[in-house]
Symmetry: C2
Amino acid sequence: MAQKAEETRFELQKDRMLRAAARCFNEKGYSGSSLKDVAAILGLTDAALYYYVRNKEELVYLCYVRAAAVGREAMARAVSEGLDGFDTVRRYLRYHIEIMVGDRGPIAIMSEIPSLIPIHRDEVLELSRQHSARFEEILEAGIEDGSISPCDVRMTGNAIMGSINWIPKWYHGDSEMGNTIAAKFPAILTKGLRLETS
Amino acid sequence: MAQKAEETRFELQKDRMLRAAARCFNEKGYSGSSLKDVAAILGLTDAALYYYVRNKEELVYLCYVRAAAVGREAMARAVSEGLDGFDTVRRYLRYHIEIMVGDRGPIAIMSEIPSLIPIHRDEVLELSRQHSARFEEILEAGIEDGSISPCDVRMTGNAIMGSINWIPKWYHGDSEMGNTIAAKFPAILTKGLRLETS
DNA sequence: GGACTATTTTAATCTAGATTAGAATTTTTT
DNA sequence: AAAAAATTCTAATCTAGATTAAAATAGTCC
């Protein structure tokens, strides 16, 4: 029990740190944010962060891994509901956005992957590719089942994911707006997908 | 004539520099890109850049001003054609993307505005706001003229502009893909806007 | 070809911020 | 409440990279 409590505390703090870091990185970029900036949000000293992470690069890396996990989780949840392609996309977007604007946010934008060390860069790129690929699979499934009209899934995927990825750039924690985004974005982004039953 | 030629050379080099900087910044962020990185693309020394710009901050600032000008130019051109709202949006997107993936690119993503000094930040933010506002006006005009179905223009604008802004993150100069983007994105992004004449 | 200007380089300096070691403090355990 | 472990801080060090000054080169004009 003791062990577990400590682990929990550690993990909780670490997660708080990752969210603080994500907030900084989203606003001012990776290199533009000092460890002092991140620590200040937590009421800590910059040096304290080294208790949780080996160095700054690892901090970004973990932010990106976390972002990927959140996206994958949202998608898995949507897929598990067994809806048609169109509705799966819409659900996925809703779940993903809800997390981004909710209290598990902010989620780091993966905008500086080249700054990672090679081994981390490769891993994050792979996660990112997998996510895109799975999204495209859903689109294809939707085209198959007749819920989505035929389209270039690569380009359509890029378009939709771009909108999602950009959200943290203009959304900064105003929860009312957060609700608006979660309520409207899924419909806006999928409106053009529907196959019109002529 | 002499003066003009020199001015031209200077301006040309400066523009090359801004495009090189945009490329670096888009890949690795503002603070993540050293002046040496930018200079290397031009075959110059980092110190040489100071002949064109007062400091690094001004370099980003100019990149952002340039990005704003490109967007405004594309929009003005589209508006000047006097089409209905829907087609104006589509034209604007096409023109904007064509510049982004064409030889006037790459265009800097305005992703680190907080890193600018206050006076520059205010100016760039204002340019950005104006652009968003004008885009929303076009959407509203389209709703008025019946070419676009009623929608939350703020959210819809954010969604579409997010897709556009994100393009430089995954497009890196493969001109064949550039053509694909220019050909497909405008249709993809506007497909959901059309008012279905029931 | 010499003089003048424009452009770039070399060779410092200077600073913010990452990193580290060890001390101090806080929390947990018994 | 002492001992042990976990967490944070203080006070350096170290380095990359921005910036500057002056010299060197390239280009243009007469």
